[in-house]
C-alpha cells in the first residue's frame, strides 16, 4: 500500500516535470532501523491497544503508559500525515529522540525515554525514521493530553529537563572492549533498561546514585540489575543472562509482567552477539553500585514463617518443589531467587494473587503460567506465604504484611 502510494506520487512528479532527485536505495538503512526498533522495544509501548503488533499495528499508539503522575497515552508513529509522523522530517525526528522536543516545539514527557535515546547517534535515529516510513500509514488519533493540571502544561518539562536531563550521544570508553562498549550503548541508549530498573526521584527522574538498584513500577518491582549477590545479578553468569533475555527464562527464573513484553518484542529478537554484549556490560558496570542493605532471614519458628510454610507445602510445593528448587526452565527456582528477595514485595505479591504468564519467546514457546491464588488465600495467608518464600532456603528479605497484600489486592482489582 505504502509502496503503491509512493509509486503514484513519483509518477505525478514525473508528469509535473518537477526537479526530481533520485532517492538513494536505503535498504541498508531501513534494515538497520528495523533492528534498532527491536533494540528500543518501541512496539511494547506504541502497539495497538488490541494487542495486535503485526506491521503498522505495532506503531499506531494509544496504549496508556502508567506513571506516578497519571497515564500518558502513546502516540501514533506510523507515517500518517494527519495523526502520525507523516509530516516529520529526519531532522525533527532526531530532535524528538535527542532532546525530547516535537516539531511544533512542544515538550515530550520522559515516559518517552528520550533521556536514553539522546545517546543514539544521528545515523541511528535516521535509520529508525527511515524504517518507520516504510510502514503503512494508519489514521489513528490518540488523546495526547491525559495528564492532570498542571502536568498537562508541557512547558513544565523545560524546567525538568534543566534539572535532570543532559543531552548527548554515547561516547565509547576506549579502555573497554568493543563488546563492552556495544553493550553499554544498547543498555544506556536504545534499550533504555534504566527507565524501569533505576529508582526514580519524586520528579520521576533517575536517581543516578542508585543506578540499576531496582524499584517499584506499575504494580511490579523492577529487579535489581547490579552485581549484588542476593538481589542483583552477582550470582548470574553471562550465559544465564543471555539465556534469560533470549528465551525469557533460564534455570533460575522466568520473565513475567512488563519484562515478558521486553523479551517478546525485543530481547528474544536481538542477535546473540548483542545479548552477549549486554551481559558483558551488566556484569562489569562502569561504576560500583551501592550494596543492597544486608538482610538476615527471619527465624523459621516465627509465626508468619510457620504459617507460610504450611501454605507453601499445600499450595506451591507441587510445582516449585519442597526445597524451592522448582523445575528448571518451567517453574522458577525460589531458593536463592533474586525476584523474591527484592526490597519491594510487589512482584511476588502480584504473582501470588493474580497469577502470571511467563514470557513467550520463539526460542522457548511454552510460556507456562502460574495460576492465581488471590481467590483462595486471604491477606494474612498471602502475607505469610510470601514472607516464607522470601526467608526460606537461605533467602532473606523484609517480611510482608497483610496490609501489603491488601494494598496489592486493591491495586489489582481493576486490572486485567
Amino acid at each position: 500500500m505504502r509502496a503503491r502510494l509512493l509509486a503514484a506520487l513519483s509518477a505525478a512528479a514525473l508528469l509535473l516535470a518537477a526537479p526530481a532527485r533520485a532517492a538513494p536505495d536505503n535498504f541498508d538503512q531501513v534494515e538497520r532501523g528495523r533492528y534498532l526498533v527491536v533494540l528500543g522495544d518501541c512496539v511494547a509501548c506504541h502497539m495497538s491497544t488490541s494487542g495486535d503488533h503485526q506491521g503498522s499495528q505495532g506503531f499506531v499508539g494509544g496504549r496508556p503508559i502508567e506513571t506516578p503522575f497519571g497515564n500518558i497515552v502513546t502516540p501514533n508513529i506510523t507515517p500518517d500525515r494527519a495523526t502520525g509522523i507523516g509530516t516529520w522530517s529526519a531532522d525533527s525526528f532526531y530532535r524528538a529522540m535527542h532532546e525530547g522536543i516535537r516539531p511544533n516545539g512542544a515538550r515530550l514527557y520522559p515516559a518517552f525515554p528520550y533521556t536514553y535515546f539522546t545517546r543514539m547517534p544521528r545515523e541511528d535515529t535516521d535509520a529508525i525514521f527511515a524504517y518507520l516510513n516504510t510502514l503503512d500509514p494508519v489514521n489513528h488519533a490518540v488523546d495526547r493530553n491525559s495528564l492532570p493540571f498542571p502536568l498537562n502544561i508541557r512547558a513544565s518539562m523545560l524546567a525538568w529537563n534543566g534539572l535532570f536531563f543532559e543531552p548527548g550521544e554515547f561516547r565509547p570508553d576506549p579502555n573497554r572492549s568493543a563488546e563492552w562498549n556495544r553493550g553499554a550503548y544498547i543498555v544506556e541508549g536504545p534499550a533504555h533498561c534504566g527507565a524501569c530498573h533505576t529508582p526514580k526521584n519524586l520528579a520521576g527522574a533517575d536517581r543516578s546514585s542508585e543506578r540499576f538498584a531496582g524499584g517499584p513500577l506499575q504494580g511490579w518491582f523492577a529487579t535489581n540489575l547490579t552485581g549484588d549477590q542476593r538481589t542483583g545479578l552477582g550470582d548470574w553468569s553471562a550465559d544465564e543472562i543471555v539465556e534469560y533475555l533470549q528465551k525469557g527464562r533460564n534455570a533460575r527464573s522466568a520473565a513475567s509482567g512488563p519484562m515478558a513484553e521486553v523479551v517478546e518484542y525485543s530481547t528474544s529478537v536481538m542477535t546473540e552477539a548483542d545479548l552477549r554484549a549486554i551481559a558483558t556490560y551488566l556484569k562489569e558496570p562502569p561504576a560500583a553500585a551501592p550494596a543492597s542493605p544486608a538482610r538476615t532471614a527471619l527465624a523459621a519458628d516465627n509465626a508468619q514463617m510457620r504459617a507460610g510454610e504450611a501454605i507453601y507445602v499445600d499450595r506451591c510445593g507441587a510445582c516449585h518443589t519442597r526445597s524451592g528448587e522448582g523445575v528448571a526452565r518451567m517453574f522458577p527456582r525460589l531458593a536463592g531467587s533474586q525476584v523474591v528477595q527484592q526490597e519491594g514485595n510487589e512482584t511476588l505479591l502480584r504473582v501470588v494473587l493474580q497469577g502470571v504468564r511467563a514470557a513467550y519467546s520463539p526460542h522457548a514457546p511454552t510460556s507456562p503460567a502460574m495460576p492465581a491464588f488471590g481467590w483462595r488465600l486471604n491477606d494474612d495467608e498471602t502475607a505469610a506465604v510470601t514472607t516464607y518464600i522470601r526467608n526460606a532456603w537461605g533467602n532473606a528479605a523484609p517480611a510482608v504484611s497483610a496490609a501489603d497484600a491488601a494494598r496489592m489486592r486493591d491495586l489489582l482489582r481493576d486490572r486485567p
Binding site: A318, C319, V327, G355, Y360, A364, P365, S367, M370
Partner: protein, 588 residues
Amino acid sequence: MRRLPRKDVVIVGLGWTGAIMGHELCQAGMQVVALERGPWRDTASDFNVGTAPDELRYAIRHELFIRTAQDTVTARNTPDQTALPMRRWGSFLPGNGVGGSGVHWNGHTWRFLPSDLNIRTHYKERYGEGIFPENHMIQDWGISYDELEPYYDRFEYLCGIAGQAGNIKGEIQPGGNPFEGWRQRGYPTPPLKMQLTQDLFTKATTELGMHPFPMPAANMSQAYTNPLGVTQAPCTYCGFCERFGCANYSKSSPQTTILPVLMRHPGFEARTECEVMKVLMSADGKTATGVTYIDAQGQEWEQPADLVILAAYQLWNVRLMLYSGIGKPYDVSTGEGVVGKNYAYQANSSVNGFFDDKRFNSWAGAGALGMTCDDYQGDVFDHTGLNFVGGANINGTTFHARPISARPVPPGTPRWGSAWKKATRDNYNTTTNVGSQGSVMSYRDCYLDLDPTYKDRLGRPLLRMTFDFKPNEERMSAFVTDKMVPIMRAMGAKQIVASPKKGPWSVVPYQTTHNTGGAIMGDNPRTSAVNKFQQTWDVPNVFVLGASAFPQNAGYNPTGTVGALAYYAADAIKNEYLKRPGQPLVQA
C-alpha cells in the same frame, strides 16, 4: 446464514488430531481455521492447581465432558430394541472443549501390534477362516505397521512418552516389551517411578514366566522439551489424571505439546463455542465446499474451505458424515454401506486383591503408572483351540485412590453404614488391582446410525449406538482374567475378586472411553469409509481423523494409534494431496 471468507482448511474439533493436523498444515503454509464447539481451555486458568483436583466437580459431575443437554447418543444392545438417549454419561465420557479427550485421558500411549493391523489376513493364515466368530466383520486396516512406525515415533516424541523400549530395529531390549513391533529408537524419556503394586506385579509375573515392562506413559517422568520447543514438567504423582486437566504441565495434551506454538502461528485461527452443523457439498456431491456452524450467539455461519478435516470425537465424526451425505450409510439389514459400520469398544476386566500386610499408598499415582504384560495380547499367544480372536494387556497400575470413588471393600460388605465405613478404613490402603485392557472385534449388528426418534437441541437426529459384548469377547476376557488371578495370588493377596467382562453391555457403569469405528479405514471403498490416509473414498477433499477409522479395536488404549494416523494423514496431504488437490490418494 452469513458467509465468511474462504480458508484453505477448516478443521472440525480442536483435540489431538485437530491440533496435529492444524500445526502440520500451517507449517505447509496453509490458512487454517479450527472450529471447536466447547470452550477454550488453558492450564493455569482452567486447570488451576487450587481447583483441578476437585473430584466432585470433575470426576463425579463431569465438568470436562460435553453436557448431554448439548449432545448425547441413544443406545441399545440389539437392532430389535428401541434405543433410549443417555441423559447422564456412564459407560464412556466424551470430551469437550479445546484439547478434547486429550485433556482428560490417563496417558496410556500404545502402539498396536503389527498383527493387529493385518488381523484378518494374519489370523486366517495362522488358524484358518474357522477362527473368526459368527457375524464378524473383522477387516485389515489397509496399512502396515512398517508404514505407521515413523508416525508412532513422531507422536511419542511430541508427547515425550516415558517408557522402556522392547524392540529397537528388531533387537529385543531387556526390560521392555519383547512382543512389541520394532521401533526406530527408544522412548524419549525413562519410565515413571514405580510403586509397591508395580514391584509386586513385576516379581509375580516374572516368577510366572511372563514378561513385565513399564507401561508407556504420557505422564512425564522428567522435564521434557519436544521437537516444537514446548516443555513439560515432571509428574507429581497426584493421581488426578483421568477426568481431569493436569495442573502441572505434566500430562501430554494439545495444551502442553502443540497449542503454545500453534495458537501463535499466523496461519492459524481457532474459534471456540462454534458447533459445526454439517459439511457443505457441491451440487454433484463429489466435493465438500466448507461447513456451516452455529456460534454461541446462535448465529449461523458458512465457512467455505478447500479442505475439510473432521477431527471431532469418534462418535461425532460419524454423525457429521451421516448429516452431510459423505459416504453411503451402513444398512444393517443388507450389510451394505460403510458409514456407521464396525462400531467397537474395549473389553476390560479386573482382579482385586485384598491384603493384610501391605500398604499400597495408591493415592500417589499417575494416569499411566503401571507395569504391563503383553503375554496374552493380540496374537502374541497361540489361539489354537481357544475359540476366540483377540487378547488383552495385563496391567498392575496405580493411577488414583480418590476419596469419593476409591472405596474398595470385599464382597458382602454392606453398601452403607458403620460396617461399610469400617471396611473402607480397613481396606482403602491395603487393596490393589490387576486389570486387563481387551480387544473388541467388529460385528454385523454393532454399528452407528441416526436415531429415528430423538433429536438434539438443534433439531438434528441423535446418533444411535447398537452394541453388545459378544461371546468371542466374553471368552477372551475370561481366558485373560484367569491368567490374572495367579498373578494376584503370587502378589500375596488374602482375598481375590475376579471380574471378567460379561455382556450385556450397560450404559451405566463407567467402562472406558475407547469408542472406535464407524468411519473405518481400509483398501476397498465397498467395505471401508476412508482409505489408509483417512481420506473419504467418495469426497476426496474430506479427511476423517481419529478412532472412527479403527476397523475393530485392539487390546490397547487408542490414543497412540490415533496420533500416529493423524501424522500419517498430514504427511500424505502435505506431500501428495496438495500436488493434486481434490484427487483421491488411492484409486478405488
